[in-house]
């Protein structure tokens, strides 16, 4: 039986999913069959290049992760809250480290979600010294494969304009059928009040 797939977005009135969106949601084959097709750099090659692949936070040094965040211009996070977030990234978590320095992440990505239908990928970072060699793609492909193995195919993320072209070849589409990513912003309410 196919895994149930549906792009759910907040809707008030009843809408039938438009035909154009159906192709995003109707699987033609079971997810596991396709998952194996989508890893461009296999584990063995990463290993040969001196990288370890990690799927849990066990060896992850949170302040090293903060360093990577800072180096790409993300805000640093409070360590306690970061640990809290990492323990609740129940969707998926993948990070790469140098085998010679196993607690320091060089590439990282995590996904949150409800574990069955939806997932959102956050904090995709690659240490600037290791960018441009396919590590970002490697972690993203593994996060996607991990989520799909759990049966989750509604995978979303928020992409800054210059990285949209990074996510496209991974299979992401911006605003499919006009679905918009929206974020709560208090200042919008401030503007309205005036």
């Amino acid at each position: 039986m196919h895994s149930y797939i549906n792009i759910r977005s907040p809707l008030l009135r009843s809408t039938i999913l438009p035909l154009s969106l159906r192709r995003y949601i109707t699987p033609r084959y079971t997810p596991t069959a396709v998952a194996s097709l989508s890893i461009s750099i296999p584990d063995s090659e990463l290993s040969a290049r001196g990288f370890s692949i990690n799927y849990s936070t066990t060896n992850l040094n949170p302040s090293a992760l903060n360093d990577v965040f800072a180096s790409v211009g993300f805000p640093r996070r409070d360590t306690a809250r970061l640990n809290l977030a990492l323990s609740h990234s129940s969707g998926s978590l993948v990070w790469l480290s140098r085998t010679t320095d196993p607690t320091k992440p060089v590439a990282f990505a995590r996904a949150t979600g409800d574990g069955v239908f939806n997932a959102v990928v956050w904090d995709v970072v690659v240490d600037p010294s290791y960018q441009g060699i396919g590590l970002g793609k490697a972690v993203m492909e593994r996060v996607i494969a991990d989520l799909r193995e759990k049966g989750i195919v509604n995978i979303a993320l928020y992409a800054e304009p210059r990285v949209i072209s990074f996510y496209r070849p991974l299979g992401f589409i911006p605003d499919p059928d006009g679905i918009k990513g929206m974020v709560y912003s208090r200042r919008n309410l401030q503007k309205k009040k005036r």
Partner: protein, 250 residues
């Protein structure tokens, strides 16, 4: 280091994204050449900080609180000054109490306790035309959601002997419980739409998330309801940041 010319996965290295006002106090923390145009005047009011904050600053609750030469600063609380004295959203809230034309008394209750009967939810989804989902998966998805907000209608017959409780709305949010939350599946019974209940549902859920110190609240809205969420304080494509969805290969 992070030049635009190179095809790199590098977020937030470009000047135009830093519309915030914080000062880089210790350049040793950053590789040379990575610019961060950040200036903060400590005496600026918290309120004004919020007014000028950009997208990433809205998730500032996650940032270091002790100021030891960090790149970005965080306000003491994610709640706006006016909101700080606000009562926390209770588990149950009475939204409306009215008499219907046939004499029955109806109460609309907003609830955060999250106990949802999946069969009632399926009936609700049928009413708005959403495809059915395996009930066991629905149950798991609700259990794994950080917050589940529901609207119930409780009707009492005029004699006062019969009481009927009906699920008329729901919204849920998944979260990492520290930084980000995403709202999914906002649904209101068609016969109760148009009364501001959906608005109340989302507003209360948003407020509850903010009170739990989740700084970044996001959602994905169908094109028809983008304006509905705009009116509730949500911004589409903030700073050009786009929502993207993964799709199966064709």
């Amino acid at each position: 280091m992070c030049s635009l010319a190179a095809p790199r996965v590098c977020f937030r290295c470009h000047p135009c994204l830093s519309s915030s006002r914080f000062e880089v106090r210790n350049n040793k923390l950053l590789p040379p050449g990575v610019y961060l145009r950040l200036k903060r005047k400590p005496e600026k009011r918290l309120e004004r900080w919020f007014l000028k904050a950009g997208f990433w600053d809205s998730i500032a609750s996650s940032i270091l609180k002790n100021n030891n030469a960090t790149e970005t600063m965080v306000p003491p609380s994610t709640l706006h000054e006016e909101e700080e004295g606000e009562e926390p959203i209770p588990d149950q809230l009475l939204l409306a109490d009215r008499s219907l034309s046939d004499g029955t008394q109806e109460q609309i209750i907003f609830s955060l306790t999250g106990d949802v009967d999946v069969h009632a939810l399926q009936d609700l989804c049928d009413k708005v035309g959403w495809p059915r989902r395996p009930l066991s998966k629905v149950a798991v998805s609700l259990k794994n959601s950080f917050l589940v907000a529901t609207l119930y209608s409780i009707t009492k017959s005029p004699e006062g002997d019969e009481e009927r409780k009906q699920l008329i709305g729901m919204a849920r949010a998944t979260s990492d419980q520290a930084f980000n939350a995403t709202i999914w599946d906002v649904i209101v019974d068609p016969s109760y739409q148009g009364q501001g209940l959906g608005k109340a549902l989302v507003q209360k859920l948003t407020r509850a998330l903010l009170q739990r110190d989740i700084g970044n609240i996001s959602l994905f809205a169908d094109s028809k309801v983008v304006d509905f969420y705009k009116n509730l304080g949500f911004e589409a494509d903030p700073e050009g940041i786009k929502g993207m969805f993964w799709h199966l290969p064709f």
